[in-house]
Symmetry: C2
């Protein structure tokens, strides 16, 4: 779908143009104060003019063609109007009307399906229905249903929102500037993935900001995220549904599938997408990327403040947010000692005391001293810029920042206030113009810098940026391999499993035991007996042929006594592998994004502390390594309490094997569980394997 006629139209037609309050009137007001009138046609059969501009009785009467129709009239009029518009060459449409899928009735759903069919037939990229429209600030197009106080906000943030209200709130925020601002509505035709894709490719958009409730086309989304990752264009997403209640809401609100929230975290981690918690974070994170002339070369910060109290807050909240303040190099410390009064004790975060705040040259020299430090990626000046300036310090500081910003090797700068305020517009604009990003107070501001740090630290070459998105939906059926077959299956992908085989007689059992090596474990092979130990159908630590033969008979007898109707495949005879550090490796398949690979340590680690890491297949070796490093329990692998380190490379091999298996069987595989997989000083071994598919494995 080509979005150019929708989002970058040359001429547009407003149907339902009006002077009254409401969609039609407010759209006309927006357009007339913002757009070149020669690019706009109004249609209203009841009026000759609207706000002094000629109104046509219908689209057919308009001379020549147009690209986009904006329909301000109710739902029942929409389809006829789309046909009229198509006849005039339009391939874009904005539909404000509600009454479609969002009302949750069969009629609403049918209306939406009919609309989709029609747009496909007419090749129309339709925004909505049930949307507020969009603004293209680059080409000055303003088909938007609500009035804003301040319309002229051309900038470089491309914003798309599945909520009209949040779209409006962001558009009315002070100081924020956009390339595009899009209220997507129901996404019946043009989907969130289409808008994101457009903004990723758009040259006027420096950062893509998204409010997302759900995804309909995972492949298209993944393609857009991949392109963004490779060209290092930041995408900032507020994704609803982190909580259980929020997830239910997001699913019901636009009728799109919210999906398991952890899967989105995994998706975003793979592609370096920044996930934020609320609209305020979305706003300031996007603004940070849009204002900074370049990104920090390394994800570390110097914090410079005018008082000890402020410096302490930067230290404490910085640690909460995971901000790295590197120690200053000795030369930096010496330069600062020369600049600051004797009682100051230079460190990072830095309490400059108030002395330099009334001294442009001195403040500039301190900025340069800190920027010259090789460990520092970015400078954060702590200062509460109030709306009404009471203290003249900002005059000197702003002048210093402006001077330093012209240095060819100037590092990125931001200003962090300690209480929230609409900032003094004059200084705010002046500072942003020389590339200084304005942040909100510390708990927001330093978390936003952490997002920046994560983005800077992300390296797309460390990730496998393909996804194993299933080609077909799940069948709804479940097939489980038996234990032996499961282990044989995972073994074909290179995952070590115990030597074992199924015996159908006590002689066979002894033969297998001799072959796999003593001691052995024996257990009944039956899909009908679940708690095998409880009924004497598991025998451990058998060390010689007589014990094996006797165990064979005992197991069969116990099975027949306790489960007379059970189907018996034989008795599994397995070399008893030594105990190692217990890990869990697993796969669960997400219907949208395919198999997700999970790793964790067994026992209390997973059960009590939920200490697991999840990533979408396929994994690169580096991704697998990062998953393991993310586990708090990974210290157990690295030589815990004087023990020798365990074989992390073999564990990574096993994770990659799981990833490969899951990728190859992305359509059929529902679940895989290797639990426990033992990790040794040398090698690993999976003591069990549960494999569940939705179709028999070929």
């Amino acid at each position: 779908m080509n979005l150019n006629q929708l989002l970058k139209p040359n001429k547009i037609c407003i149907v339902g143009a009006s002077e009254r309050t409401g969609f039609g009137g407010d759209t006309c007001r927006n357009i007339l104060t913002y757009m070149d009138p020669s690019r706009v046609f109004f249609v209203n059969p009841k009026r000759d003019t609207v706000f002094g501009i000629k109104a046509y009785p219908d689209m057919a009467s308009i001379p020549g063609s147009f690209d986009l129709v904006v329909i301000c009239t109710p739902a029942h009029t929409v389809e006829g109007l789309l046909r009229e518009a198509a006849a005039k060459g339009a391939h874009g449409a904005v539909v404000y009307a509600s009454g479609y899928k969002e009302i949750g009735t069969p009629e609403g759903l049918a209306a939406q399906q009919s609309l989709v069919r029609l747009c496909n037939e007419l090749d129309i990229a339709l925004m909505g229905p049930n949307c507020a429209g969009f603004v293209n600030y680059i080409d000055r197009v303003y088909p938007f249903a609500f009035l804003s106080e301040e319309r002229d906000r051309r900038g470089s943030i491309g914003f798309v929102s599945q909520s009209g209200q949040l779209c409006l709130s962001l558009m009315d925020s002070p100081d924020i500037r956009f390339s595009y601002s899009i209220s997507s509505g129901n996404c019946a035709v043009t989907e969130m993935e289409d808008y994101i894709s457009f903004l990723v490719d758009d040259e006027d958009t420096k950062v893509v900001a998204v409010y997302l409730e759900g995804v309909r086309n995972p492949t298209k989304l993944a393609d857009a995220l991949r392109r963004a990752a490779l060209k290092r264009k930041p995408i900032v997403i507020l994704k609803a549904g982190r909580s259980e209640k929020g997830g239910r809401l997001a699913a019901s609100h636009t009728g799109s599938l919210a999906g398991a929230d952890r899967i989105f975290d995994a998706l975003f981690a793979k592609f370096g997408v920044i996930r934020v918690n609320d609209l305020e974070e979305l706003r300031y994170t996007a603004q940070l990327f849009s204002v900074l002339p370049k990104l920090p070369a390394c994800p570390t910060f110097a914090s410079m403040n005018l008082s000890g109290g402020e410096t302490g807050i930067c230290a404490d909240v910085g640690e909460l947010c995971g901000i790295v303040y590197p120690d200053f190099a000795p030369e930096t410390l010496q330069k600062l000692r020369d600049l600051l009064p004797g009682y100051a004790s230079p460190a990072n975060p830095l309490d400059m005391t108030a002395t330099l705040s009334y001294d442009t040259e001195g403040y500039a020299a301190a900025l340069r001293a800190v920027m010259g430090d090789p460990n520092v990626g970015m400078v954060v000046a702590g200062y509460t810029l109030l709306q009404k300036i009471a203290d003249p310090a900002i005059e000197y500081m702003a002048a210093a920042m402006e001077i330093v910003s012209r240095d060819p090797d100037c590092k990125p700068m931001a200003m962090l206030p300690f209480v929230g305020n609409t900032r003094n517009a004059e200084y705010s604009a002046k500072l942003e113009a020389c590339g200084v990003a304005m942040l909100p107070p510390p708990c927001y501001g330093l978390r936003i810098l952490r997002y920046l740090a994560d983005f800077v630290a992300y390296d797309p070459s460390q990730y496998d940026l393909s996804l194993a998105i299933p080609d077909r939906p799940h069948t709804g059926k479940r097939y489980a391999l038996n234990e032996h077959a499961g282990k044989q299956f995972v073994a074909t992908f290179g995952i070590p499993v115990p030597q074992e085989d199924i015996a159908c007689s006590s002689e066979q059992a002894v033969d297998i035991a001799e072959r796999v090596g003593y001691p052995v474990v024996m257990k009944i092979d039956s899909p009908d007996i679940l708690h095998k130990s409880d009924c004497g159908c598991v025998q451990l630590d058998l060390k010689h042929p007589e014990a094996v033969a006797k165990a064979y008979d005992r197991i069969l007898q116990n099975a027949q006594t306790h489960h007379p109707d059970a189907q018996i495949g034989g008795v599994l005879v397995q070399h008893m592998v030594p105990w190692g550090t217990e890990m869990i490796l697993g796969v669960s398949s997400d219907p949208s994004f395919g198999p997700a690979v999970l790793v964790g340590l067994g026992g209390v680690f997973v059960e009590i502390f939920k200490d697991t890491a999840l990533a979408l297949a396929p994994l690169s070796r580096e991704e697998a390594r990062q998953m393991i490093d993310r586990l708090k329990g990974s210290v157990l692998l690295k030589g815990y309490r004087g023990n020798a380190p365990l074989d992390t490379e073999a564990l990574i091999d096993a994770l990659l094997s799981v990833s490969q298996l899951a990728t190859e069987h992305k359509d059929a595989l529902l679940e895989l569980d290797l639990n426990p997989l033992f990790v040794y000083e040398k090698g690993v071994c999976s003591a069990d394997a549960v494999v569940v598919t939705d179709a028999p494995l070929s």
Copy 2:
């Protein structure tokens, strides 16, 4: 120390009164725009008048007496001026000058010590030195060194700050209103504890807000916190030093002892003090308590929003912050269904859709429906009140809130915006006047509501509000009891330990074994042999007299072979207790606040997950229970994986015994470690006890 002449003076004298920019001039400007001039005397030997007011050449020339002297002149003039002021009856002084302890030189320290001596001699309550002064908004006293844009801010927040800069930032924040605002400076004479104590007792102060770097008088602080807890007056503290870097800074900045940060968490938890992360949280938490006409009866919230996107943010961020949104009762749901359009699906958080936002009666009815729900403690209306009103919805909503606020059973209300803005002053004032608290955006706003919820849930009767503050400083020496003596010592406080005794011959060893019961463990008793197992000085699981006799000889022989010079007390013969769930109980003594009791599960719980709970002695039974409940690992005690539940009551008894022991020995005890203490289905047993004191135990 009586702070009334300092903080509530009738007449005040400004020394160094001036018309120039600087302390003297700005103080005069502040005072002349705010205070009744008949209460003020100016002193300046070089001028006849200052801003048209008579200036006296010295204090002696002033007719009559005054209560407070405000010294705007440099450090070297201060002591002489204090003597002059004392001669005029002043018992309060504000000293702005720096050059004291904060500059870190011996001269600075000596100057401060001399100042303290003089104030004690003259009975003067001195604020500072190195402070910015204070404002008493109740009695209109404004001896403050910096200009503010808006001075008339009488309200009910009593604020004291150890940082002048943070004091100023908070005073310049929009909308906040104070009873007192105090920049304490170096706290050489009047200490933070004195100010906090004053504000706790002050009838005009509804909530106490504090920026705290360190504590000098723990007993006085604890007394003030206890009084506040018992009268349920909220104290909100921004305490520097949560991070290691922040802790070092706070200690260096005002030269006060920052103390172990976790001890402050424990202190605040005991007294129900709210600890916030930054100045923005301090501001809005204090403002919330000052605006709400009453506190919620229960710590639960109803969230009402105009769109699905906003509702999702409230759900997601609410969960991150630990906000409880109870499900609405069936009657509430029915009332909401009657009020909202058919496609709305009422739930908490509630997406009201935009329909009622232009309908005062409808919005009021929805508010009342939600307030009528017995599970709801407080209502949070999500709405972004912009500085420039673009949408008239707020008119209807504010009117509805005002109407509902007059209901006798109205529950507390707050308004939560989704982007940060200086809010429209008119509506903001209107809403606050009818008791609706204005919050910052969700990541701040919902965490602040969580602080409120915690305050509401806190019940002082569940805590032992005394503290075991040491009567003397630690001696700096360390005495460790041997294992047997340690266990005997803790046993006298009722903590179960294994039956054991020390044998000095193999016959004695056998006697003891017979008495304590087989199997036994034997180990060398020597302060000089640390790793007893490594040299064969521990023998386990000895089951009969011959084994015990042989083990005795072997242990002694191994000790003599490997440690020929070691002092040997004999061989400890101990009944080998069965293995149980391993806990760690410990005490470490804080020099300021006394013994802190720690509990955690052993092994990876404490080592990897730092899953421990800490509380200051003495503990109430409920405090001990809460400590255990706070542990993630406490699920292991409650019947994990089908096991029988363990004896939590016996564990609580052990914690209370530890608390009692620590309280009785608060002066001498440095450390206590019961590791492991085994917990069984019935009872507990401490398998070891390390007791370290700074003086021999009597």
